[in-house]
């Protein structure tokens, strides 16, 4: 018909095979953008790897502890001077009475093993053993007074210097000015390790034990502050879940849309972004100074953390209520369900996975929160086993895991530094477990409609 049909083989003005300049430019821009994205992710991964490996490198040591196997002769002349066997008399002997017995025991063990050392006095053994060793032996004797007169094999904590030396933290060249240990004692430590008298083992008391004083880091554990955190989380869960869910349901389903509810909504979003220390000072002013609740108590900590967690829970609950399709509400109303029935029978069960996820994430946030706890004094130094009862768990002074970590990090002895990292590992294990539960809940109960 036209000229065009006469030359069908003619090359098209633009070839599809060879991309034109504009397309090439576009493709280059896309490749560049992808490269930026990859670089961003790799940077993130790099820092994650550095973080995790440094935490593990520094903290794993806290889960191991050096112990000394000492046969201690429970000398009746020292422990039960009158020979009456009266428990009250035995209790009068303080730990100072026990320390020489333990040192004698260790010295005789050293001599028996044929170890050659310039240290030949009982006093020289003192720095090898933890200050807590005497208390441990005394507790044993008070519990088993019939053992007096016998020689009992104890597995006692080594001192933090010996522990640090065996872990490589304390160096031979560093101890010249150290009053707590000498080079000879380090030599002896090496010999004792070869003889099997000093050995490293898993440190259960780090996970279950109480905090210890500045001078005996080898005894300190995170267990009691773990209980403090547990009681706080109990308060947070019991308060923030019902209050948060009730508030969200009311705001999302019942509240009229007006300026007042808009104001509330904006403020909830703002509260979620308020620095946690502000909540701490609020808790100090309201709960402790005004309401006269006990200081340092997990109950107060829980109340403060509840205030912090509520916005998180409300926001996530409202989001998951909103995500339930309106057709489900219509369906329930259409068969004559009341508004409350439609919410409780249909909407809430469907929103439940989202609500639980939000709650767990909120709890995990609260678990790791430190700043408000410092203000309300939840940094109690609890060196004994704790608590006596359930009620005292809420009202007696305690610490919390992150606050305990902070306390340890502040202390001068490098042995505490190691424990701070170990505490971080335990805290992270809790947080990861909680997040994993949240993910599992979401996967398990998520429904499609």
């Amino acid at each position: 018909m036209t000229d065009a049909t006469a030359t069908p083989q003619a090359a098209p003005a633009t070839s599809l095979v060879a991309a034109d300049a504009r397309t090439q430019k576009r493709n280059r821009a896309e490749r560049r953008f992808r490269a930026y994205g990859m670089a961003a992710i790799l940077t993130g991964l790099f820092f994650l790897v550095v973080l995790v490996s440094s935490i593990l490198y520094n903290g794993v040591g806290a889960f191991q502890q050096s112990f000394v196997n000492v046969p201690v002769y429970l000398d009746p002349a020292k422990l039960d001077k009158n020979g009456t066997g009266d428990i009250e008399e035995i209790k009068k002997v303080s730990t100072f009475g026990y320390a020489p017995l333990i040192q004698d025991g260790l010295l005789s063990e050293v001599q028996k093993s044929g170890i050659e050392t310039p240290l030949t006095k009982s006093k020289d053994m003192k720095n090898l053993l933890s200050a807590s060793a005497a208390a441990e032996v005394r507790d044993y004797v008070v519990a088993n007074p019939e053992q007096i007169g016998e020689t009992v094999e104890f597995r006692l904590l080594a001192s933090s210097r010996v522990d640090g030396y065996l872990k490589g933290r304390v160096k031979r060249e560093d101890v010249a000015d150290d009053k707590n240990i000498s080079v000879e004692q380090l030599d002896l430590t090496d010999q004792l390790r070869d003889a099997g008298i000093v050995s490293k083992g898993f440190n259960l008391s780090f996970i279950t034990g109480a905090d210890a004083s500045e001078s005996r880091p080898e005894q300190a554990g995170i267990g009691v502050s773990m209980l403090g955190s547990f009681f706080m989380m109990l308060v947070v869960l019991v308060l923030s879940l019902p209050i948060g869910v009730a508030a969200s349901i009311y705001l999302e389903e019942f509240a009229p849309q007006n300026r007042f509810t808009d104001l509330i909504e904006v403020n909830i979003s703002n509260l979620a972004a308020v620095p946690s220390i502000v909540f701490g000072i609020l808790g100090l002013a309201v709960f402790i100074q005004f309401a006269h609740l006990p200081q340092s108590a997990p109950l107060v900590g829980g109340l403060v953390l509840t205030l912090m967690t509520l916005p998180t829970i409300i926001i996530s609950t409202r989001a998951s209520l909103k995500a339930v399709p309106p057709s489900i509400r219509d369906a329930a109303l259409g068969v004559g369900a009341s508004k409350m029935q439609s919410i409780f029978h249909h909407v809430l069960p469907l929103a439940m996975p989202g609500i639980l996820t939000g709650t767990i994430i909120g709890l995990a946030q609260a678990l790791g929160e430190t700043a408000p706890l410092l203000l309300i004094g939840m940094v109690g130094y609890i060196a004994s086993n704790y608590p006596d009862g359930f009620a005292s768990g809420f009202l007696d002074p305690n610490s919390a895991m992150p606050a305990q970590i902070y306390e340890w990090a502040k202390r001068a002895d490098p042995a505490y530094y190691e424990r701070a990292w170990g505490g971080i590992i335990i805290l992270l294990v809790f947080l990861l477990t909680m997040n994993a539960i949240a993910i599992i809940l979401r996967r398990r109960f998520e429904r499609r409609w």
Binding site: A331, G334, R448
Partner: protein, 265 residues
């Protein structure tokens, strides 16, 4: 019309179920329904047709006060069900909705078992004395929804796992399980394929035996097939209301004629 006495008799047999007078609906400042008068008869299928946004769904939702759930929506005028004003202050919309059931545009079964879907209404209204009674109600409703044979072996299966057409019939079964007197259907076939549509239409025709059915539809063929009465809405006005045959063959208003011949809408 009025000179045929036996025809007059016939109309009298069909009593008016719902009567609306001077109904106005506002969405905020928008005047969505303007002064609508309509009488819906018992045991009749009444179709509402009209272009999108003409207010037919809005008006339908007035009939069981589903518009109450929309904050900005205000309804004025009078709608009477069996002579009682449903917008009276003393009327509980929940009781009203038990009497006036609704089927929605998109099939919306609860994400529960087929059995629980149908049993939910009777349960919350206390219609069943015991488990056997409830079983019977569920079976009867599923039979009426023309879906019993397809699901009787898997009543425990989730309702959301059925095909679109089955889901819609399940929703109809769910709506009839509470023994309503009026069944409102908001474009019940718009999400269905032609075969499922045919099944639902057949079902609507059967439901006419026991209920007054009001159906909103975009398909004029559907209105012509299933309804006895048709109302044509345009821009919030009820333009014309009458016997379906008359509306489609001999519309009185030029707008109705333009719409059904495809010139507007």
């Amino acid at each position: 019309m009025y000179d045929a006495p036996n025809r007059e008799m016939k109309v009298d047999q069909k009593t008016t179920k719902i009567s609306a007078r001077g109904v106005q609906v506002y969405y905020g400042d928008t005047h969505a329904i303007k002064d609508v008068d309509v009488d819906i008869e018992d045991r009749t299928v009444t179709a509402f047709i009209g272009p999108s946004g003409c207010g037919k769904s809005t008006f339908l939702r007035c009939l069981n006060r589903m518009n109450d759930t929309i904050d900005v929506c205000r309804v004025k005028g009078e709608i009477k069900l069996d002579g009682e004003d449903i917008y009276d202050k003393r009327v509980d919309p929940v009781q009203l909705r038990a009497k006036v059931g609704m089927v929605f545009q998109k099939p919306n079964p609860f994400p529960k078992s087929i059995y629980d879907n149908v049993a939910y209404g009777p349960r919350i209204h206390g219609l069943a004395r015991d488990k056997a009674d409830l079983d019977e109600i569920v079976e009867r409703a599923l039979r009426r929804g023309a879906i019993w044979n397809e699901v009787k072996d898997r009543l425990d299966a989730p309702g959301t796992g059925l095909s679109g057409g089955q889901q819609q019939r399940l929703c109809i079964a769910r709506a009839v399980a509470t023994e309503p007197e009026v069944l409102l259907m908001d474009e019940p076939c718009s999400a269905l394929d032609p075969i499922a549509t045919a099944q639902v239409e057949e079902l609507i025709d059967e439901l006419r035996e026991s209920y007054s059915v009001v159906i909103v539809t975009h398909s004029m063929q559907q209105a012509a097939r299933v309804s006895q009465k048709t109302a044509f809405f345009h821009l919030g006005n009820l333009v014309e209301f009458g016997e379906t045959g008359q509306i489609f063959t001999n519309p009185q208003d030029s707008r109705t004629e333009s719409y059904i011949t495809g010139r507007i809408g």
